[in-house]
């Protein structure tokens, strides 16, 4: 069962249209919330008048900051750095707006149409101020002392803060000494990633009601991190966590942005408490593209000291992260991960990375699939290509020269990632290059490229190598329960953003209890069904919840064995489980199925057997280290000379996940991840006018690649380096499809242009390629293979 290409148990519901998404939750008497958003990027609020809106029949309330002045700013869920506190976002703008789309008021009405009509009638007067949009420019004054002190919310009186929210440096060795040694050659790279983000099919949405009878605030439509959000919602509303129930419905994609606690979410819950009515908020796509977390926008400057054979002795890097207008729940996660994961699969004797987190008058930024790694991998792999070109070595040679060797595993890099020691747990990085080259036949691809190039075509081949991280702890739990009919339920703190976690957990439990995986029900993402859950992020659940489910299932099996042994008067060692029936080894007949054993364990009999009632058990898994999967992306591209169109003819991914619990799901994750990586590499970008007005607020301007733009993804999933850190040996598959897409595409485009280093930013647009195709005075320099 584990390792099989089992079909998703989620799909029986989803494919019949029986799923329940946030907007599918309807409650009698519900009020619809509509957010009035700032139309200017930076300005001082002069007045907000809801009188006209309130005159509309069916409009219940209009709130501005004054109505929610008692609410603090939203806290950090991850990477909470003290210096970031003054930059947190109020749930409604206090006196200054800082991005187009910032909530300045909310309207509650009997229908979503009416709410939108009313929102238009809210009279918002804002005095415009200059917009600060370039994170590379010198920092400017960002918040005054009053706002800084308020946002920090820790009782301290803070001075005014500038737009550089945080600067931190990590590293090891002595970079300055290395560079001043007078040995080696210096290579530099200046690499930029455009601002883009995850665009789930389902926009954000939340439905909350205060159930007077139960004395509980019920919140439906949560995603990703319902348990953390439950704590935050309880605190914001002055309730005990046990008075708040947060439930995940089906979720139409997460990718990082969806599911975090946003100002709108807080407003929905507060309104449910104060207006004593069910409150429903469903975001529309235009709001999504200007109010949900953006991501990625980063500018990296790398400097490497390299030996003649390509060995990198020192890497000195700085980067600026375009944080947008506020620091939201992710704190410094993206900057921190960029820094710690920048060295990737390479040894690099001395490292120094300095992160600059800077505010701009744009939509606030957070994490997006492979946060920090997509960005850093692009910059680093571009640098490796530049080194190869500069030294006259092949791109593959330089990578091989620097890879951490299998004999060095586990390899500890003396820095931290997400608050854990960065220890590459296992891996044979060079072996994966060998396997990929063989499976995809790199020599044949190179030969084809040469032949077609000679015939006048602009074709190119390139690749990028990367290390991912997955399975962040510290804990995850699961409870396996068998009822008297033998039906198996897994209750857990995991969340599903559509990735197939139900199927994986069912497979793990099915393996232990030897029952069909599709007979198992998985209950997750509901704070009233399990005590703890860290959430669906950072590619952690297969490692964490999978291991917890394994432990829980084993505990249930043990309990079943103990009970059956007593009932059948045999020893536990004589028992085995087959097809959900506990049998005596070697006996032809008899045995007890799990339902019968559950029946035996009714409270009275269980007491006699000195067992807790019920055939159920909890399992937990704890870890203080992450696992590190790794992979290689390769691309064959063609550039249309006349139009600059970039066509990805082939895209290949080799990825080692330690152990693939379900190869079908791993491949699905990779394919979807590649599509999103291609979006960032070629299509998706949030652009802003000089005054801070967003230019990409519809799908006509924000271009998400479709099935027509994404080639079939060729995949090689390997299991050469199981993780020693968990009982399944598994590493995560959620993000490795995305990580090196921009790096591989850029490398291939350089090759097609025969201009090494031509591509130093993404997305790569056709007009840029047309310009690069113009004859220049510099000679074409072939990339060495």
């Amino acid at each position: 069962m584990i390792g099989s290409r089992a079909l998703r148990i989620e799909d029986r519901v989803l494919l019949r249209g029986a799923g329940r998404f946030a907007a599918d939750t309807q409650r009698a008497g519900e009020l619809h919330m509509r957010v009035v958003r700032s139309p200017v990027a930076h300005g001082r609020i002069v007045s907000i008048d809801g009188t006209e809106a309130l005159r509309l029949e069916g409009v219940t309330a209009v709130w501005t900051y004054a109505d929610v002045a008692d609410l603090p700013a939203i806290g950090f869920r991850l990477t909470p750095r003290e210096e970031l506190l003054p930059y947190r976002q109020p749930v409604l703008a206090r006196s200054v707006v800082r991005y187009v789309g910032e909530p300045v008021a909310v309207v509650f009405a009997e229908s979503s149409y009416l709410a939108e009509d009313a929102a238009e009638l809210v009279d918002v007067e804002i005095e415009s101020l200059p917009a600060h949009l370039d994170p590379d420019a010198e920092p400017v004054v960002w918040v005054d002392a009053e706002q800084a002190s308020w946002a920090a919310g820790n009782g301290e009186r803070l001075p005014a803060q500038d737009s550089e929210a945080s600067v931190f440096t990590i590293g090891y060795g002595d970079v300055d000494a290395a560079f001043s040694s007078g040995e080696g050659r210096v290579f530099t790279m200046d690499a930029r990633i455009g601002r883009h983000t995850g665009v789930p099919m389902e926009c954000r949405g939340l439905v909350a009601v205060y159930d007077e009878a139960e004395g509980q605030l019920i919140v439906d439509g949560a995603a990703k991190v319902p348990f953390w959000n439950r704590e935050a919602i309880a605190a914001m509303n002055g309730l005990a966590p046990s008075q708040v129930v947060v439930r995940e419905t089906h979720v139409g994609g997460g990718f990082g942005p969806r599911g975090e606690l946003y100002p709108e979410d807080v407003l929905v819950t507060v309104a449910a408490m104060r207006l004593r009515a069910p409150i429903k908020w469903i975001e529309d796509r235009q709001e999504h593209l200007m109010a949900t977390n953006h991501s990625r926008g980063q500018h990296h400057r790398l400097r490497a000291l390299v030996d003649e054979d390509g060995y990198i002795r020192a890497l000195d890097a700085t980067f600026t992260l375009d944080q947008g207008a506020y620091v939201r729940t992710h704190g410094a996660t993206v900057a921190s991960l960029t820094a710690s994961m920048l060295p990737g699969p390479y040894v690099i004797d001395n490292l120094r990375v300095t992160a600059h987190v800077r505010l701009t008058h744009k939509t606030p930024a957070g994490t997006y699939r492979s946060p920090g790694r997509y960005e850093g991998t692009f910059a680093r792999e571009r640098l490796i290509d530049a080194i190869a070109h500069g030294l006259g070595l092949s791109r593959e040679q330089v990578r091989r020269r620097n890879l951490i060797g299998p004999e060095q595993m586990p390899y500890e890099r003396p820095i931290q990632a997400m608050g854990t020691h960065l220890v590459h747990d296992s891996g044979d990085y060079a072996l994966l290059i060998d396997k990929a080259a063989e499976r995809f036949d790199f020599p044949a691809i190179r030969e084809t490229v040469s032949r077609r190039r000679a015939a006048g075509e602009r074709v190119g081949f390139g690749f990028g190598y990367f290390v991912e991280k997955s399975g962040i702890g510290p804990s995850e739990g699961a409870r396996v329960v068998v009822d008297s009919a033998g039906a198996v339920t897994v209750l857990c703190g995991a969340s599903s953003v559509g990735q197939g976690v139900d199927t994986v957990l069912a497979q793990v439990v099915a393996e232990v209890l030897d029952v069909p995986h599709d007979s198992i029900r998985v209950v997750r993402g509901r704070t009233d069904q399990f005590q703890y859950g860290r959430g669906a992020f950072a590619t952690r659940l297969t490692v964490m919840a999978g291991s917890a489910a394994l432990n829980a299932a084993k505990a249930v099996r043990d309990k079943a064995f103990r009970t059956a042994a007593a009932e059948l008067a045999v020893s536990v060692e004589q028992l085995r489980i087959r097809g959900g029936v506990v049998e005596v080894e070697g006996a032809e007949h008899g045995g007890l199925d799990l339902g019968q054993i559950a029946g035996i364990l009714e409270p009275l009999r269980a007491s006699e057997l000195k067992e807790e009632p019920g055939l159920a058990a909890d399992g937990w898994f704890h870890t203080d280290h992450m696992t590190y999967p790794y992979g290689l992306h390769a691309a064959l591209v063609r550039i249309d000379e006349g139009t600059g169109r970039l066509e990805v003819e082939r895209f290949m991914v080799a990825y080692d996940v330690g152990r693939a619990l379900n190869p079908l799901l791993v491949e699905g994750q990779i394919a979807g991840g590649v599509a999103q990586g291609l979006g960032g590499a070629m299509y998706e970008e949030f652009l802003y006018a000089a005054d801070g007005t967003p230019q990409s607020t519809t799908f006509m301007d924000y271009l998400v690649p479709t099935a027509a733009e994404v080639p079939p993804i060729e995949m090689l999933v390997t299991e050469d380096a199981p993780s020693p850190l968990n009982p399944l040996g598994v590493k995560g598959a959620g993000e490795g499809g995305t990580t090196a897409v921009a790096a591989a595409i850029a490398s291939a485009v350089d090759d097609a242009l025969q201009r090494p280093g031509a591509i130093d930013s993404v997305p790569i647009k056709p007009d840029t390629l047309r310009r690069l195709l113009q004859p220049t005075t510099t000679h074409d320099v072939p990339t060495k293979e």
């Binding site: 009509d117 238009e120 299509y683 230019q695 006509m700 271009l703 056709p766 047309r770």
Partner: protein
């Protein structure tokens, strides 16, 4: 993204539709396929107080070949145009152009006349209409009139139609077999509005171009008939070189806008690249 409130009427005859439209023409909109109008209403960029749905009005669909001209009912769906069995270079052009309109769901619902009345300078049907000097027949309670394409497309989203007029049919000249026609466009993704589109109809007799029509989209507010390209082609010996020269002339002639999808120079590059592709004279690898 919910439209503001509107009244909805669904007339069952053209007369009734015209009467309904005449009641309050400035605050009314005719709903045909709705593929542009409805999104604009959802964005509240359009706020008609009344929608007059002509989808049940008989006699507005179909492609009817005549002696010298072909008449296309305004409500003919893009997909019906894509599937037309119309013979000759015109049929070929219509099928090729229709295939590039949006995506299949859009083509299933959207209409030929709706696209022309909407007047987006990059739309395939506005280009084809301007290319072939189509004649637009419009009707109102005041009567019927025919507007030539040269007068019809006035500015972005602005035509010569009066607010109380309904576009009922479009007639295009039949093209004899001496014609070569085609359309080529460039968009960053399949199905998007073209950044630049080029369409052409060239008559070749004994190897010499005796009539040349070239129309470009994405280079000005309305479809652009390129006189430079047409003059370059007219009288020349039909060859890939002649088409390339015409494309270069067109690129020099136009003054395209710059936006996030491409600046003016890039659009000129696209004109150079696309016109030969429209006429299928571009070489491999280009």
């Amino acid at each position: 993204m919910k439209p503001s409130a509107f009244d909805y009427v669904r007339p069952l005859s053209l007369d009734e539709a015209m009467e309904q439209l005449a009641i309050d023409p400035f605050e009314s909109k005719v709903l045909s396929g709705g593929q542009s109008l409805i999104p604009m209403m959802n964005f509240r960029l359009a706020r008609p107080e009344r929608l007059i749905d002509i989808n049940r009005v008989p006699g507005l669909e179909g492609i009817v070949p005549g002696q010298d001209r072909v008449t296309i009912g305004a409500r003919t769906r893009h997909l019906a145009v894509q599937n037309t069995g119309l013979q000759g270079p015109l049929g070929s052009l219509l099928r090729t152009a229709a295939a590039q309109v949006g995506h299949l769901p859009i083509r299933t619902r959207g209409t030929f006349g709706g696209s022309i009345a909407h007047c987006d300078a990059a739309s395939e049907w506005c280009l084809v209409a301007r290319l072939l000097d189509a004649e637009m027949t419009v009707r109102s309670t005041r009567g019927e009139r025919t507007i030539p394409a040269a007068d019809f497309f006035q500015a972005i989203f602005t035509t010569a139609m009066e607010p109380d007029e309904i576009l009922t049919s479009i007639s295009l000249p039949a093209l004899d077999d001496h014609h070569v026609t085609g359309i080529a466009e460039f968009a960053r993704r399949a199905g998007d509005f073209a950044i630049v589109a080029a369409t052409a109809a060239v008559k070749i007799e004994d190897g010499v171009v005796t009539r040349a029509r070239v129309c470009l989209g994405g280079v000005s507010e309305v479809p652009w008939r390129s006189q430079a390209a047409e003059s370059a082609l007219l009288g020349s010996a039909w060859s890939a070189g002649a088409v390339a020269e015409a494309a270069a002339a067109a690129a020099d002639e136009v003054d395209p806008p710059s936006d996030s999808h491409g600046d003016a120079d890039y659009r000129r590059d696209l004109v150079r690249a696309l016109l030969p592709r429209a006429l299928n004279t571009a070489g491999a690898g280009s």
